[in-house]
Symmetry: C2
Amino acid sequence: MPAPAKVTDDEVVAAARRLIERHGVGALSMQAVADEVGVRAPSLYKRFADRGALLAAVQRGVFTDVERRLEGAAALHTSAKLALGSMATSYRAFARAHPHLYELMFSRDVPHDAAGDEARRIAARPIVARLTDWVGAERALPAARVVTAFVHGFVSMELQGAFRLGGNVDEAFRLGLELLVPPLGR
Amino acid sequence: MPAPAKVTDDEVVAAARRLIERHGVGALSMQAVADEVGVRAPSLYKRFADRGALLAAVQRGVFTDVERRLEGAAALHTSAKLALGSMATSYRAFARAHPHLYELMFSRDVPHDAAGDEARRIAARPIVARLTDWVGAERALPAARVVTAFVHGFVSMELQGAFRLGGNVDEAFRLGLELLVPPLGR
DNA sequence: ACCTGAACACCGTTCAAGT
DNA sequence: ACCTGAACACCGTTCAAGT
């Protein structure tokens, strides 16, 4: 006497992502997800071990999307320098357009696991790949760390509202990239 | 018929800070704070409007401590370049020594208010002051944004565990500072 | 095989009642 | 004036019972 499945795993993840996008990670309750897909909250535990596992699934999807965006931004350029600038700008645009999804990428509410680490690594791959081509495998790792640290730090402070003391924020972003990227070619 | 106060506001804040330092912001419950100071949870609401207000008070204290540390690190040097490097290193050391307090500085659980903004501004003052001396008031703001973005981004990614793919993390931090700071003097 | 209601432990918070 | 027990609404999660 099987009871037919009312939803798929993907539909649950999509619903959770929609809710996070609208109201933030902190506001995501299992109740809200259940309501959104038309099921009772306990049913979700047949599909995801707990709230953390559901968040992790949404997070992996976001990492995949970010990778695609970066790849798309880089594809427009043959110069590594221009490709890196384009990826940085595209990354910042994503964060501004979807601040709550950006928050999810670094949220402490998401438990660390191998699948998440892998997805995060893949999201960073377009940057690492361009840098490897440009400065060699040896110097690509520290270079990637420096560039991603600046971009992530800038974007997260900007979303946090730390840059509200006037001045031109876009210009500061460009200044940072201008100082960091060209000298990497030595 | 007054009931004598069992604790002071400062004792409550200190207890909350201790608990956050040990177990993180997410694990801080009003119950746990009440237990720690020997009072019942509802009593805390006579002193702080809600959990957010208590977190904000702890956060302001952390900002004050950071400001003191940065000032101390900068005081060792007359050169702005060296002072900035020293402040960056000291800031990173604080984050590594107290990761949960560092998390609190940027936590979405802490509601924004004028007092918090002011405390955050004061914490950044040693950096802004040195940069103003060095490159002038005009260029100090974007320069401060670039430097703090890199340092915060680097530290928060490091704490997040994003730099576990081998390589020399300290060296990457030095590389970033070396690329960013000296050229600011133009 | 999947879904559900009921229940548990734990939150933050309110408030009337105590001293 | 400050503290407290009791209560409320809301969590995440478990599980026996339904189909």
